[in-house]
Amino acid sequence: MKADTLELYRTYTGDETFNRIKHYETVAQMWEDRAAEYADLTAIADDGKTYTFRQLQEDVAHFRAVLRESGVEQGQRVALLIPNSYDFVKAYLAAVTAGCTAVILPAHLDEKAVYGTSMMFGFTALITAPATENAAALLRQLRPEVTLIGTETASEEASPAAVCAGSDGCTVIMTGGTTGKPKGALLSNTAVLQGVVNSCLGVPGTFEQRYLLVLPLSHVFGLIRNLLASLYSGSTLMICRDNKNMFRDAAMFRPTIMVLVPALADMALTLSKKFGRSMFGDSLKTIICGAANVPQYLVEEYKKAGVDLYPGYGLTESANLVSGNPVPLEKPGSVGLIFPGMEYRIVENELWLKGSNMMDGYVGAQETDAYEDGWFKTGDLVRMDDDGFLYITGRIKEVIVLSTGENISPAELEAKFNDLPFIQDSQVFEDMDENGRHFLSLEVVPRATEAAKLGADAGRIITEALQAVNEKLQPYERVSKIIIRDSDFARTPSMKIVRYKKCQ
């Protein structure tokens, strides 16, 4: 069924905003058009400096020349390993408007991971910032054919944007998909731009705003809903380089709109109450909230403070937003109306999708059961009310979505614990304490023969070894509780572990 929600969205968005929404075929067209329209407005504020749309356009043109002088050709994949910064914006726009596919790597990747992604995604060039240059060392050594380009490289030439098609590749964003195995979602120019247009629907007064960026640009929510929506709408994006400074940045910049994961929205609310002032400043009018379940109390509490918080639902595979809730007080708990033109089916309560914003498939690894009859199976269980509002009721995919929006792949973490010789099997799962707080837990089944060799101290040795593995994980991946079982896990008929679903 095709979502017939255009007129509803026109009403919720308001004619003034709705009539300013334009459609483009490629990011290059969008960028050139918007940069001309908003030339004298400030596009980016970063590290104490501001850049107008005109300055950014010029810097992008010069960096396109850098790419071309480095041998990068249209149609190739170019990876970005750059923390949130003006240089990220410049390099990203240069790559995609040069007709390349930008492969966005999380800036915290280490050198082994960077090398691994080069094998996985087959990029021909990697753009690094001074802060990430060292992470390219192994790649430089083992794959000298990959061109390394620093963001500080300059060219006196300015190179024009490439002519490309909407169906051409634009961006690869890393995702765990439904199984959690790392891979990339390949998004075309059309998909990315549809994601940007969807961003503007249902939110009155989207244009010429002030955004404060606190989400990573390697995440689809940060890249599309925050950066590209800001550029598209002639808004100013202030880049917060370190989240512990976000409220100092907010006090100075006075954002009118924020794109947040629920955990950050919740944290700001708690701090605002504790210190008796609005931590994001009094100019804030709108919060776009998603990437994890949005508790209704956030909608209600922010409304009391005069801020409209709009919950939404999206996936990396759908170039961000699939639906948004323009009336969260009238439709509590809903992630909203599916955006106009998207096709959807609800099969045994699972949401299946088609549409111009959907990816062209995974790269780097495949998921054989991601599609059925051309439909992308989201792995999310939903229901829809009589007015077409969507509610997420659970998920069948293995990946755990933390309230911070970070995705945890239990299988990936379990493989690391299972590498210990005395661990036979393990299970990482989302657990909940008596206060309803969610955290990650680990249960392991020791390998009896190996554990026996450890003698009377087996429990302590195993626990310490597991903790040592835990300490090496990314902070958000670490488990807070470890249980050593004395019996095997419950298993399915095909001997797979029956996964705990304590928080669903």
């Binding site: 512990k244 976000m246 304490d433 807070s480």
Partner: protein, 83 residues
């Protein structure tokens, strides 16, 4: 400010950071491990730092979130800044 006074103020912050029930926070000592014992998420840690800056009027300008294994490490940092 004495270490035990800093610790008491930190406990108040931890409670509002949703780091556990009042019974859990009451039992917090300088040896309490922020991750293993309290299960602080990255956002809880961020909250802890921002609220600590506000309460103690200091700045965590040379350290990142997650660089403090224990409550005592945070107390020491604050003590150093206040002196």
């Amino acid at each position: 400010m004495k270490r035990n006074e800093i610790l008491d103020k930190l406990k108040e912050i931890l409670l509002s950071a949703d780091a556990g029930s009042s019974a859990v926070i009451d039992s917090v000592t300088e040896d309490t491990h922020l991750l293993n014992d309290l299960g602080l998420s990255s956002v809880n840690m961020l909250y802890l730092m921002i609220a600590t800056e506000e309460v103690f009027q200091i700045r965590f300008d040379d350290v990142g979130v997650g660089e403090f294994p224990t409550v005592g490490d945070v107390v020491s940092y604050i003590e150093g800044k206040l002196s």
